[in-house]
Protein backbone atom coordinates (compact mmCIF):
# COMPACT_ATOMS: atom_id res chain seq x y z
CA UNK A 1 0.00 0.00 0.00
CA UNK A 2 1.19 3.47 -0.85
CA UNK A 3 0.90 5.72 2.20
CA UNK A 4 1.17 9.50 2.14
CA UNK A 5 4.16 10.92 4.07
CA UNK A 6 1.78 11.94 6.85
CA UNK A 7 0.24 8.46 7.06
CA UNK A 8 3.70 6.88 7.01
CA UNK A 9 4.79 9.15 9.85
CA UNK A 10 1.74 8.08 11.85
CA UNK A 11 2.63 4.45 11.21
CA UNK A 12 6.20 5.17 12.31
CA UNK A 13 5.04 6.59 15.62
CA UNK A 14 5.02 10.34 15.06
CA UNK A 15 1.69 10.55 16.91
CA UNK A 16 2.55 7.94 19.52
CA UNK A 17 2.56 4.19 19.83
CA UNK A 18 -1.20 3.76 20.01
CA UNK A 19 -1.84 5.75 16.85
CA UNK A 20 0.92 3.73 15.20
CA UNK A 21 -0.90 0.52 16.14
CA UNK A 22 -4.16 1.93 14.81
CA UNK A 23 -2.54 2.74 11.47
CA UNK A 24 -0.80 -0.65 11.43
CA UNK A 25 -4.20 -2.30 11.92
CA UNK A 26 -5.70 -0.30 9.05
CA UNK A 27 -2.71 -1.03 6.80
CA UNK A 28 -2.90 -4.78 7.47
CA UNK A 29 -6.64 -4.62 6.83
CA UNK A 30 -6.07 -2.88 3.51
CA UNK A 31 -3.16 -5.11 2.49
CA UNK A 32 -5.35 -8.17 3.00
CA UNK A 33 -7.73 -6.87 0.35
CA UNK A 34 -5.17 -5.43 -2.04
CA UNK A 35 -5.87 -1.79 -1.21
CA UNK A 36 -3.43 0.55 -2.93
CA UNK A 37 -4.03 3.59 -0.73
CA UNK A 38 -5.95 5.09 2.14
CA UNK A 39 -8.86 7.43 1.41
CA UNK A 40 -10.20 10.13 3.73
CA UNK A 41 -13.37 9.47 5.70
CA UNK A 42 -15.68 12.17 4.35
CA UNK A 43 -18.95 11.67 6.20
CA UNK A 44 -19.83 14.03 9.05
CA UNK A 45 -20.43 11.21 11.52
CA UNK A 46 -19.26 7.68 12.14
CA UNK A 47 -21.36 4.84 13.53
CA UNK A 48 -20.25 2.14 15.95
CA UNK A 49 -21.88 -1.24 16.36
CA UNK A 50 -20.72 -1.62 19.96
CA UNK A 51 -23.22 -0.13 22.38
CA UNK A 52 -23.15 -2.65 25.18
CA UNK A 53 -21.07 -2.94 28.31
CA UNK A 54 -20.87 -6.70 28.59
CA UNK A 55 -18.63 -8.15 31.27
CA UNK A 56 -17.13 -10.63 28.82
CA UNK A 57 -16.11 -7.84 26.45
CA UNK A 58 -13.69 -6.32 28.94
CA UNK A 59 -10.81 -6.64 26.45
CA UNK A 60 -12.67 -4.21 24.18
CA UNK A 61 -13.09 -1.62 26.93
CA UNK A 62 -9.49 -2.09 28.01
CA UNK A 63 -8.44 -1.35 24.44
CA UNK A 64 -10.64 1.76 24.40
CA UNK A 65 -9.01 2.87 27.65
CA UNK A 66 -5.70 2.72 25.79
CA UNK A 67 -7.11 4.98 23.06
CA UNK A 68 -8.42 7.46 25.62
CA UNK A 69 -5.23 7.50 27.68
CA UNK A 70 -3.31 8.17 24.48
CA UNK A 71 -5.45 11.27 23.96
CA UNK A 72 -6.96 10.02 20.71
CA UNK A 73 -10.69 10.73 21.00
CA UNK A 74 -10.42 13.60 18.54
CA UNK A 75 -11.81 11.78 15.52
CA UNK A 76 -15.24 12.37 14.05
CA UNK A 77 -18.27 12.18 16.31
CA UNK A 78 -20.42 9.09 15.89
CA UNK A 79 -23.73 7.43 16.64
CA UNK A 80 -23.94 4.00 18.24
CA UNK A 81 -26.18 0.96 18.19
CA UNK A 82 -29.12 0.84 20.63
CA UNK A 83 -28.58 0.43 24.33
CA UNK A 84 -29.25 -3.05 25.71
CA UNK A 85 -31.43 -2.11 28.67
CA UNK A 86 -34.65 -0.18 29.13
CA UNK A 87 -36.73 -0.46 32.32
CA UNK A 88 -39.91 -0.15 30.24
CA UNK A 89 -39.36 -3.53 28.59
CA UNK A 90 -41.01 -6.44 30.43
CA UNK A 91 -38.50 -8.37 32.51
CA UNK A 92 -38.77 -10.57 35.58
CA UNK A 93 -36.82 -9.90 38.77
CA UNK A 94 -34.48 -12.71 37.74
CA UNK A 95 -34.01 -11.16 34.30
CA UNK A 96 -33.12 -7.84 35.88
CA UNK A 97 -30.70 -9.51 38.27
CA UNK A 98 -28.94 -11.29 35.40
CA UNK A 99 -28.80 -8.10 33.31
CA UNK A 100 -27.43 -5.89 36.06
CA UNK A 101 -25.23 -8.25 38.06
CA UNK A 102 -23.89 -10.68 35.48
CA UNK A 103 -24.19 -9.34 31.96
CA UNK A 104 -24.10 -5.58 31.56
CA UNK A 105 -21.82 -4.81 34.48
CA UNK A 106 -19.63 -2.63 32.22
CA UNK A 107 -22.48 -0.57 30.76
CA UNK A 108 -21.81 2.63 32.72
CA UNK A 109 -18.06 2.33 32.15
CA UNK A 110 -18.56 1.85 28.44
CA UNK A 111 -21.08 4.68 27.99
CA UNK A 112 -18.62 6.99 29.72
CA UNK A 113 -15.94 5.82 27.29
CA UNK A 114 -18.24 6.54 24.35
CA UNK A 115 -18.94 10.04 25.64
CA UNK A 116 -15.20 10.65 25.84
CA UNK A 117 -14.60 9.17 22.41
CA UNK A 118 -17.33 11.28 20.81
CA UNK A 119 -20.79 9.70 20.73
CA UNK A 120 -23.30 12.31 19.58
CA UNK A 121 -25.51 11.89 22.67
CA UNK A 122 -28.24 9.70 24.11
CA UNK A 123 -30.38 10.31 21.02
CA UNK A 124 -27.66 8.77 18.86
CA UNK A 125 -28.11 5.22 20.16
CA UNK A 126 -29.91 3.39 17.35
CA UNK A 127 -29.07 0.92 14.60
CA UNK A 128 -31.13 3.08 12.19
CA UNK A 129 -28.92 6.15 12.57
CA UNK A 130 -29.62 7.16 8.95
CA UNK A 131 -33.29 7.98 9.57
CA UNK A 132 -34.04 11.69 9.16
CA UNK A 133 -34.98 12.24 12.79
CA UNK A 134 -31.64 10.86 14.01
CA UNK A 135 -29.56 12.87 11.61
CA UNK A 136 -26.62 10.64 10.72
CA UNK A 137 -27.56 10.43 7.08
CA UNK A 138 -24.55 10.41 4.75
CA UNK A 139 -24.65 11.80 1.25
CA UNK A 140 -24.21 9.80 -1.92
CA UNK A 141 -20.54 9.06 -2.58
CA UNK A 142 -19.32 9.89 0.91
CA UNK A 143 -16.75 7.54 2.44
CA UNK A 144 -17.78 6.07 5.80
CA UNK A 145 -16.06 4.23 8.60
CA UNK A 146 -19.15 2.53 10.01
CA UNK A 147 -19.99 -0.82 11.46
CA UNK A 148 -23.48 -2.31 12.04
CA UNK A 149 -24.45 -4.59 9.22
CA UNK A 150 -27.97 -3.20 8.74
CA UNK A 151 -26.74 0.41 8.71
CA UNK A 152 -23.84 -0.30 6.35
CA UNK A 153 -26.05 -2.05 3.80
CA UNK A 154 -28.62 0.75 3.97
CA UNK A 155 -26.00 3.48 3.58
CA UNK A 156 -24.44 1.71 0.60
CA UNK A 157 -27.61 0.61 -1.15
CA UNK A 158 -30.28 3.22 -0.43
CA UNK A 159 -28.12 6.30 0.13
CA UNK A 160 -25.29 5.49 -2.27
CA UNK A 161 -22.61 6.17 0.34
CA UNK A 162 -19.50 3.99 0.36
CA UNK A 163 -18.58 1.77 3.28
CA UNK A 164 -17.12 -1.68 3.69
CA UNK A 165 -18.54 -4.14 6.17
CA UNK A 166 -16.13 -3.05 8.85
CA UNK A 167 -15.99 -4.71 12.20
CA UNK A 168 -16.67 -3.15 15.55
CA UNK A 169 -13.47 -1.55 16.97
CA UNK A 170 -12.00 -1.16 13.50
CA UNK A 171 -14.70 1.32 12.50
CA UNK A 172 -13.71 3.53 15.43
CA UNK A 173 -10.07 3.31 14.41
CA UNK A 174 -10.99 4.59 10.94
CA UNK A 175 -12.86 7.49 12.52
CA UNK A 176 -9.89 8.33 14.75
CA UNK A 177 -7.28 8.07 12.00
CA UNK A 178 -9.52 9.89 9.53
CA UNK A 179 -8.84 7.46 6.70
CA UNK A 180 -9.68 3.91 5.64
CA UNK A 181 -8.16 1.53 3.09
CA UNK A 182 -9.72 1.74 -0.35
CA UNK A 183 -11.05 -1.63 -1.44
CA UNK A 184 -14.27 -3.58 -1.97
CA UNK A 185 -17.40 -1.47 -1.65
CA UNK A 186 -15.39 1.74 -1.74
CA UNK A 187 -14.48 1.09 -5.38
CA UNK A 188 -16.62 1.27 -8.52
CA UNK A 189 -15.68 -2.29 -9.48
CA UNK A 190 -16.49 -3.63 -6.01
CA UNK A 191 -19.99 -2.23 -6.29
CA UNK A 192 -20.90 -4.18 -9.41
CA UNK A 193 -23.32 -7.08 -9.08
CA UNK A 194 -22.26 -10.70 -9.40
CA UNK A 195 -25.82 -11.95 -8.88
CA UNK A 196 -29.09 -11.10 -10.60
CA UNK A 197 -32.06 -11.79 -8.35
CA UNK A 198 -35.28 -12.13 -10.31
CA UNK A 199 -38.30 -11.70 -8.06
CA UNK A 200 -41.31 -13.42 -9.60
CA UNK A 201 -43.68 -13.43 -6.66
CA UNK A 202 -47.43 -13.08 -7.17
CA UNK A 203 -47.85 -11.18 -3.90
CA UNK A 204 -45.61 -8.58 -2.28
CA UNK A 205 -42.70 -10.52 -0.81
CA UNK A 206 -42.17 -10.13 2.92
CA UNK A 207 -39.15 -7.84 3.21
CA UNK A 208 -37.47 -9.86 5.93
CA UNK A 209 -38.00 -13.13 4.07
CA UNK A 210 -36.79 -11.79 0.75
CA UNK A 211 -33.66 -10.39 2.38
CA UNK A 212 -33.05 -13.66 4.17
CA UNK A 213 -33.34 -15.66 0.96
CA UNK A 214 -30.99 -13.31 -0.86
CA UNK A 215 -28.45 -13.28 1.97
CA UNK A 216 -28.33 -17.04 2.28
CA UNK A 217 -27.84 -17.43 -1.46
CA UNK A 218 -25.36 -14.69 -2.39
CA UNK A 219 -23.49 -14.50 0.96
CA UNK A 220 -21.15 -11.48 0.61
CA UNK A 221 -21.71 -10.80 -3.08
CA UNK A 222 -23.60 -7.85 -4.54
CA UNK A 223 -27.06 -8.69 -5.91
CA UNK A 224 -28.96 -6.71 -8.54
CA UNK A 225 -32.64 -7.23 -7.76
CA UNK A 226 -35.27 -7.12 -10.49
CA UNK A 227 -39.02 -7.39 -10.34
CA UNK A 228 -39.76 -5.14 -7.37
CA UNK A 229 -41.45 -2.28 -9.22
CA UNK A 230 -45.02 -3.54 -8.68
CA UNK A 231 -44.55 -3.24 -4.93
CA UNK A 232 -41.93 -0.58 -4.36
CA UNK A 233 -42.39 1.67 -7.38
CA UNK A 234 -39.53 3.75 -8.70
CA UNK A 235 -39.15 6.38 -5.98
CA UNK A 236 -37.49 6.06 -2.60
CA UNK A 237 -40.49 7.18 -0.54
CA UNK A 238 -40.97 6.35 3.15
CA UNK A 239 -42.62 3.01 2.43
CA UNK A 240 -39.93 1.89 -0.01
CA UNK A 241 -37.13 2.98 2.34
CA UNK A 242 -38.68 1.14 5.29
CA UNK A 243 -39.04 -1.99 3.15
CA UNK A 244 -35.42 -1.77 1.97
CA UNK A 245 -34.25 -1.16 5.54
CA UNK A 246 -35.80 -4.43 6.70
CA UNK A 247 -34.87 -6.40 3.59
CA UNK A 248 -31.27 -5.25 3.84
CA UNK A 249 -30.96 -6.07 7.52
CA UNK A 250 -32.06 -9.63 6.79
CA UNK A 251 -29.68 -9.96 3.82
CA UNK A 252 -26.79 -8.66 5.91
CA UNK A 253 -27.42 -10.91 8.90
CA UNK A 254 -28.58 -14.08 7.14
CA UNK A 255 -25.68 -13.69 4.73
CA UNK A 256 -22.97 -11.04 4.53
CA UNK A 257 -24.41 -8.66 1.97
CA UNK A 258 -23.07 -5.09 2.22
CA UNK A 259 -24.69 -3.64 -0.89
CA UNK A 260 -27.62 -4.44 -3.16
CA UNK A 261 -29.08 -2.66 -6.13
CA UNK A 262 -32.79 -2.60 -6.92
CA UNK A 263 -33.62 -1.97 -10.57
CA UNK A 264 -35.10 1.48 -11.22
CA UNK A 265 -35.11 2.33 -7.52
CA UNK A 266 -31.79 2.56 -5.70
CA UNK A 267 -29.48 5.42 -6.74
CA UNK A 268 -26.78 3.55 -8.61
CA UNK A 269 -29.27 1.25 -10.33
CA UNK A 270 -31.18 4.31 -11.50
CA UNK A 271 -28.03 5.92 -12.85
CA UNK A 272 -26.26 2.94 -14.36
CA UNK A 273 -28.98 0.34 -14.86
CA UNK A 274 -27.84 -3.12 -15.89
CA UNK A 275 -24.33 -1.85 -16.62
CA UNK A 276 -23.82 -2.58 -12.92
CA UNK A 277 -24.17 -6.31 -13.58
CA UNK A 278 -20.97 -8.26 -14.17
CA UNK A 279 -20.84 -10.36 -17.34
CA UNK A 280 -20.57 -13.66 -15.51
CA UNK A 281 -23.27 -12.88 -12.94
CA UNK A 282 -25.31 -15.81 -11.72
CA UNK A 283 -29.11 -15.74 -11.47
CA UNK A 284 -31.34 -16.56 -8.52
CA UNK A 285 -35.08 -16.74 -9.14
CA UNK A 286 -37.31 -16.08 -6.16
CA UNK A 287 -41.01 -16.89 -6.27
CA UNK A 288 -43.62 -17.44 -3.57
CA UNK A 289 -42.68 -21.10 -3.26
CA UNK A 290 -39.01 -20.25 -2.73
CA UNK A 291 -39.90 -17.84 0.09
CA UNK A 292 -42.10 -20.48 1.69
CA UNK A 293 -39.19 -22.94 1.45
CA UNK A 294 -36.87 -20.44 3.12
CA UNK A 295 -39.29 -19.76 5.95
CA UNK A 296 -39.84 -23.49 6.52
CA UNK A 297 -36.09 -24.01 6.75
CA UNK A 298 -35.76 -21.90 9.91
CA UNK A 299 -35.16 -24.12 12.92
CA UNK A 300 -37.44 -23.70 15.93
CA UNK A 301 -35.30 -24.05 19.04
CA UNK A 302 -37.93 -23.40 21.64
CA UNK A 303 -37.97 -26.10 24.29
CA UNK A 304 -41.65 -26.58 23.55
CA UNK A 305 -42.28 -25.76 19.88
CA UNK A 306 -46.02 -25.58 20.62
CA UNK A 307 -45.64 -23.06 23.42
CA UNK A 308 -47.88 -20.02 23.61
CA UNK A 309 -45.88 -16.87 22.77
CA UNK A 310 -44.80 -14.98 25.89
CA UNK A 311 -43.18 -11.91 24.37
CA UNK A 312 -43.06 -10.26 20.96
CA UNK A 313 -40.46 -7.89 19.50
CA UNK A 314 -41.05 -5.78 16.40
CA UNK A 315 -38.38 -3.34 15.30
CA UNK A 316 -35.04 -4.99 14.59
CA UNK A 317 -33.73 -2.89 12.91
CA UNK A 318 -35.43 0.04 14.63
CA UNK A 319 -38.73 1.16 13.15
CA UNK A 320 -39.30 4.36 11.22
CA UNK A 321 -41.99 6.85 12.22
CA UNK A 322 -44.20 5.71 9.37
CA UNK A 323 -43.81 2.07 10.40
CA UNK A 324 -44.83 2.91 13.96
CA UNK A 325 -47.91 4.69 12.68
CA UNK A 326 -48.83 1.86 10.31
CA UNK A 327 -48.41 -0.75 13.05
CA UNK A 328 -50.53 1.31 15.44
CA UNK A 329 -53.35 1.45 12.89
CA UNK A 330 -53.04 -2.29 12.24
CA UNK A 331 -52.98 -3.26 15.92
CA UNK A 332 -56.03 -1.13 16.66
CA UNK A 333 -57.94 -2.65 13.76
CA UNK A 334 -56.90 -6.15 14.77
CA UNK A 335 -57.93 -5.66 18.37
CA UNK A 336 -61.31 -4.28 17.32
CA UNK A 337 -61.89 -7.33 15.15
CA UNK A 338 -61.00 -9.63 18.03
CA UNK A 339 -63.03 -7.70 20.57
CA UNK A 340 -59.94 -7.04 22.69
CA UNK A 341 -58.70 -3.80 24.24
CA UNK A 342 -55.08 -4.84 24.84
CA UNK A 343 -52.64 -6.99 22.93
CA UNK A 344 -52.88 -10.68 23.74
CA UNK A 345 -49.09 -11.10 24.01
CA UNK A 346 -46.72 -8.66 25.76
CA UNK A 347 -45.32 -6.75 22.81
CA UNK A 348 -42.43 -4.33 22.42
CA UNK A 349 -41.93 -2.02 19.44
CA UNK A 350 -38.44 -0.57 19.15
CA UNK A 351 -37.39 2.69 17.50
CA UNK A 352 -34.80 5.48 17.83
CA UNK A 353 -35.23 7.94 20.70
CA UNK A 354 -36.00 10.96 18.46
CA UNK A 355 -38.67 8.97 16.64
CA UNK A 356 -40.19 7.76 19.89
CA UNK A 357 -40.33 11.35 21.06
CA UNK A 358 -42.01 12.56 17.86
CA UNK A 359 -44.41 9.62 17.87
CA UNK A 360 -45.41 10.10 21.50
CA UNK A 361 -45.99 13.80 20.91
CA UNK A 362 -48.55 12.95 18.23
CA UNK A 363 -52.00 11.41 18.77
CA UNK A 364 -50.52 8.07 17.76
CA UNK A 365 -48.55 7.88 21.00
CA UNK A 366 -51.60 7.62 23.23
CA UNK A 367 -53.33 5.29 20.77
CA UNK A 368 -50.46 2.80 20.80
CA UNK A 369 -50.14 3.02 24.57
CA UNK A 370 -53.83 2.17 24.87
CA UNK A 371 -53.23 -1.11 23.05
CA UNK A 372 -50.70 -2.18 25.68
CA UNK A 373 -47.75 -2.21 23.30
CA UNK A 374 -44.53 -0.99 24.94
CA UNK A 375 -42.43 1.44 22.91
CA UNK A 376 -38.70 1.27 23.62
CA UNK A 377 -35.28 2.35 22.34
CA UNK A 378 -33.80 -1.01 23.34
CA UNK A 379 -31.81 -3.43 21.18
CA UNK A 380 -33.94 -6.60 21.24
CA UNK A 381 -30.93 -8.68 20.32
CA UNK A 382 -29.00 -7.51 23.37
CA UNK A 383 -32.07 -8.00 25.55
CA UNK A 384 -32.34 -11.61 24.42
CA UNK A 385 -28.67 -12.46 24.81
CA UNK A 386 -29.11 -14.44 28.00
CA UNK A 387 -29.98 -18.04 28.85
CA UNK A 388 -33.24 -17.03 30.53
CA UNK A 389 -34.58 -15.86 27.20
CA UNK A 390 -33.80 -19.23 25.64
CA UNK A 391 -36.53 -20.64 27.86
CA UNK A 392 -39.05 -18.02 26.76
CA UNK A 393 -41.31 -18.34 23.74
CA UNK A 394 -40.38 -15.05 22.07
CA UNK A 395 -41.73 -14.20 18.63
CA UNK A 396 -40.53 -11.60 16.16
CA UNK A 397 -40.90 -10.35 12.62
CA UNK A 398 -37.14 -9.73 12.52
CA UNK A 399 -34.98 -12.20 10.68
CA UNK A 400 -31.90 -10.69 12.29
CA UNK A 401 -33.28 -11.32 15.77
CA UNK A 402 -34.21 -14.85 14.73
CA UNK A 403 -30.69 -15.48 13.49
CA UNK A 404 -28.92 -14.48 16.69
CA UNK A 405 -31.36 -15.58 19.37
CA UNK A 406 -34.00 -18.20 20.14
CA UNK A 407 -36.77 -15.88 18.93
CA UNK A 408 -39.12 -17.48 16.42
CA UNK A 409 -39.78 -15.74 13.15
CA UNK A 410 -43.26 -14.94 11.86
CA UNK A 411 -44.29 -12.72 9.00
CA UNK A 412 -45.71 -9.34 9.94
CA UNK A 413 -49.26 -10.51 9.19
CA UNK A 414 -48.74 -13.57 11.39
CA UNK A 415 -47.31 -11.43 14.19
CA UNK A 416 -50.27 -9.09 13.97
CA UNK A 417 -52.71 -12.00 14.14
CA UNK A 418 -50.99 -13.40 17.22
CA UNK A 419 -50.66 -10.20 19.21
CA UNK A 420 -54.23 -9.08 18.45
CA UNK A 421 -55.65 -12.41 19.53
CA UNK A 422 -56.76 -13.60 16.12
CA UNK A 423 -54.43 -16.60 16.29
CA UNK A 424 -52.66 -18.14 19.25
CA UNK A 425 -49.42 -18.79 17.43
CA UNK A 426 -48.24 -22.04 15.94
Amino acid sequence: MQLTPEQQAMLDGAQGDIMAKIVKTLVMYGDTFGAQRMVPVTSKYGHTVISFGLKVMNPVYDLYDQLIRAGLPQGQKFTADPKPLDPKVPASLLDKLVFKKFMYTQQERYEEQLRTLGVTGDEGYTCACYLDQVGNRPEKGEILSWAESSAVIYANSVLGARCNRNSGILELMGSIAGFVPEFGLLTDEGRRASWVVEVRCKKKPEAQLLGSAIGMKVLEDVPYIKGMEPWLGTELDDAACAYLKDMGAAAASNGAVGLYHVANLTPEAKEQGEALILEDARTYVIDDAELERVQRSYPVIWKDPGAKPELCFVGCPHMSLQQLQDWTDAVETGLQASGLKKVAVPTVFTAPVPIIRAFEASPYGARLKATGVVLSYICPLMYMNNPLCKKKAVITSSNKLRTYTSARYYTEAEILAVITGKEGGK
Binding site: K21, K24, T25, M28, Y29, T32, F33, V49, I50, L54, V56, M57, P59, V60, L63, M103, A147, E148, S149, V152, N164, R165, N166, S167, G168, I169, L170, E171, G184, G215, L219, E220, A252, S253, N254, G255, A256, P299, I301, N385, N386, P387, K400, T403, Y404, S406
Partner: protein, 146 residues
Protein backbone atom coordinates in the same frame (compact mmCIF):
# COMPACT_ATOMS: atom_id res chain seq x y z
CA UNK B 1 -1.98 -36.94 3.43
CA UNK B 2 -3.19 -34.01 1.33
CA UNK B 3 -1.66 -30.59 1.05
CA UNK B 4 -3.15 -27.25 0.04
CA UNK B 5 -1.43 -23.92 -0.44
CA UNK B 6 -3.20 -20.78 0.63
CA UNK B 7 -2.39 -17.15 1.36
CA UNK B 8 -1.12 -16.17 4.79
CA UNK B 9 -3.33 -13.51 6.37
CA UNK B 10 -1.94 -13.83 9.91
CA UNK B 11 1.33 -15.76 10.07
CA UNK B 12 1.94 -18.66 12.41
CA UNK B 13 2.17 -22.41 12.67
CA UNK B 14 -0.02 -24.94 14.44
CA UNK B 15 -1.35 -28.46 14.40
CA UNK B 16 -4.91 -29.10 15.54
CA UNK B 17 -8.06 -31.16 15.08
CA UNK B 18 -10.23 -29.88 12.26
CA UNK B 19 -13.73 -28.53 12.82
CA UNK B 20 -15.43 -27.99 9.48
CA UNK B 21 -18.24 -25.60 8.62
CA UNK B 22 -19.50 -26.24 5.09
CA UNK B 23 -21.57 -23.06 5.05
CA UNK B 24 -20.81 -19.50 6.14
CA UNK B 25 -19.64 -19.22 9.74
CA UNK B 26 -21.68 -16.68 11.70
CA UNK B 27 -19.14 -15.40 14.20
CA UNK B 28 -21.50 -13.58 16.57
CA UNK B 29 -24.11 -16.34 16.61
CA UNK B 30 -21.39 -18.96 17.10
CA UNK B 31 -19.52 -17.26 19.94
CA UNK B 32 -21.91 -15.02 21.83
CA UNK B 33 -23.33 -17.46 24.38
CA UNK B 34 -20.05 -19.32 24.90
CA UNK B 35 -18.10 -16.14 25.58
CA UNK B 36 -20.81 -14.51 27.61
CA UNK B 37 -21.21 -17.40 29.99
CA UNK B 38 -17.66 -18.65 30.14
CA UNK B 39 -18.16 -21.96 28.34
CA UNK B 40 -14.74 -23.58 28.77
CA UNK B 41 -15.11 -25.58 25.56
CA UNK B 42 -16.46 -22.59 23.62
CA UNK B 43 -19.27 -24.58 22.05
CA UNK B 44 -20.81 -23.17 18.89
CA UNK B 45 -24.16 -21.49 19.56
CA UNK B 46 -25.30 -20.97 15.98
CA UNK B 47 -28.54 -22.87 15.55
CA UNK B 48 -28.38 -22.34 11.79
CA UNK B 49 -25.02 -24.08 11.43
CA UNK B 50 -25.80 -27.77 11.53
CA UNK B 51 -22.12 -28.69 11.08
CA UNK B 52 -20.99 -26.88 14.20
CA UNK B 53 -23.97 -26.29 16.49
CA UNK B 54 -23.07 -27.29 20.07
CA UNK B 55 -19.61 -28.54 19.06
CA UNK B 56 -16.52 -27.26 20.96
CA UNK B 57 -14.50 -24.74 18.97
CA UNK B 58 -11.63 -24.07 21.40
CA UNK B 59 -8.22 -25.00 19.99
CA UNK B 60 -9.77 -26.47 16.85
CA UNK B 61 -8.58 -25.82 13.32
CA UNK B 62 -11.68 -24.01 12.12
CA UNK B 63 -12.16 -24.79 8.42
CA UNK B 64 -14.75 -22.69 6.64
CA UNK B 65 -15.61 -20.93 3.41
CA UNK B 66 -16.08 -17.47 4.97
CA UNK B 67 -17.75 -15.75 7.89
CA UNK B 68 -21.19 -14.16 7.70
CA UNK B 69 -23.49 -12.04 9.83
CA UNK B 70 -23.16 -9.10 12.16
CA UNK B 71 -20.36 -6.56 11.98
CA UNK B 72 -19.63 -7.31 15.61
CA UNK B 73 -17.95 -10.41 14.18
CA UNK B 74 -14.45 -8.96 14.18
CA UNK B 75 -14.83 -7.62 17.69
CA UNK B 76 -15.99 -11.06 18.82
CA UNK B 77 -12.91 -12.71 17.29
CA UNK B 78 -10.67 -10.07 18.86
CA UNK B 79 -12.26 -10.74 22.24
CA UNK B 80 -11.85 -14.49 21.79
CA UNK B 81 -8.14 -13.92 21.08
CA UNK B 82 -7.74 -11.61 24.08
CA UNK B 83 -9.38 -14.20 26.35
CA UNK B 84 -7.43 -17.07 24.74
CA UNK B 85 -10.71 -18.64 23.61
CA UNK B 86 -9.89 -18.48 19.91
CA UNK B 87 -9.62 -21.41 17.51
CA UNK B 88 -6.13 -22.82 16.96
CA UNK B 89 -6.29 -21.38 13.47
CA UNK B 90 -8.80 -20.31 10.84
CA UNK B 91 -8.56 -21.86 7.38
CA UNK B 92 -10.71 -20.30 4.66
CA UNK B 93 -11.46 -21.95 1.35
CA UNK B 94 -12.45 -18.54 -0.11
CA UNK B 95 -10.62 -15.23 0.09
CA UNK B 96 -11.17 -13.96 3.60
CA UNK B 97 -14.11 -11.61 4.22
CA UNK B 98 -13.72 -8.18 5.80
CA UNK B 99 -15.14 -9.08 9.21
CA UNK B 100 -12.99 -12.15 9.74
CA UNK B 101 -9.97 -10.21 8.53
CA UNK B 102 -10.76 -7.41 10.99
CA UNK B 103 -10.98 -9.83 13.88
CA UNK B 104 -7.85 -11.73 12.93
CA UNK B 105 -5.84 -8.53 12.47
CA UNK B 106 -7.14 -6.93 15.68
CA UNK B 107 -6.22 -10.14 17.50
CA UNK B 108 -2.77 -10.14 15.94
CA UNK B 109 -1.93 -6.46 16.56
CA UNK B 110 -3.63 -5.86 19.91
CA UNK B 111 -3.51 -9.20 21.81
CA UNK B 112 -1.08 -12.01 22.55
CA UNK B 113 -3.58 -14.66 21.41
CA UNK B 114 -2.09 -16.71 18.60
CA UNK B 115 -4.39 -17.57 15.72
CA UNK B 116 -2.75 -18.22 12.34
CA UNK B 117 -5.10 -17.46 9.47
CA UNK B 118 -4.81 -18.79 5.93
CA UNK B 119 -7.30 -18.06 3.16
CA UNK B 120 -7.89 -18.94 -0.51
CA UNK B 121 -7.31 -22.66 0.08
CA UNK B 122 -9.92 -23.53 -2.52
CA UNK B 123 -13.11 -25.58 -2.51
CA UNK B 124 -10.95 -28.70 -2.90
CA UNK B 125 -9.62 -28.09 0.60
CA UNK B 126 -13.11 -27.83 2.06
CA UNK B 127 -14.16 -30.96 0.15
CA UNK B 128 -11.17 -32.89 1.46
CA UNK B 129 -11.09 -31.95 5.13
CA UNK B 130 -13.34 -33.71 7.64
CA UNK B 131 -14.15 -32.80 11.21
CA UNK B 132 -11.73 -34.76 13.38
CA UNK B 133 -8.86 -34.79 10.88
CA UNK B 134 -5.53 -33.51 12.12
CA UNK B 135 -4.55 -30.37 10.25
CA UNK B 136 -1.09 -28.80 10.22
CA UNK B 137 -0.46 -25.21 9.20
CA UNK B 138 3.01 -24.22 8.00
CA UNK B 139 4.53 -20.73 8.02
CA UNK B 140 4.14 -20.32 4.28
CA UNK B 141 0.41 -21.03 4.13
CA UNK B 142 0.86 -24.72 3.42
CA UNK B 143 -1.95 -26.70 5.04
CA UNK B 144 -1.60 -30.44 5.47
CA UNK B 145 -4.48 -32.79 6.22
CA UNK B 146 -3.17 -35.95 7.91
Amino acid sequence: MKQFKGRVVVPGECSAEALVSRGGFNTLASYQMALMFGDKEVKCGDQNNQDLYKKPMLNKALCLPMTIGSTTGGMVLYTACALHKQPACMLFSLPIDSLAASGAILGSVWTDGKMPVVDSLGQEFLDAVRTGDTVTVGPDGLVTIN
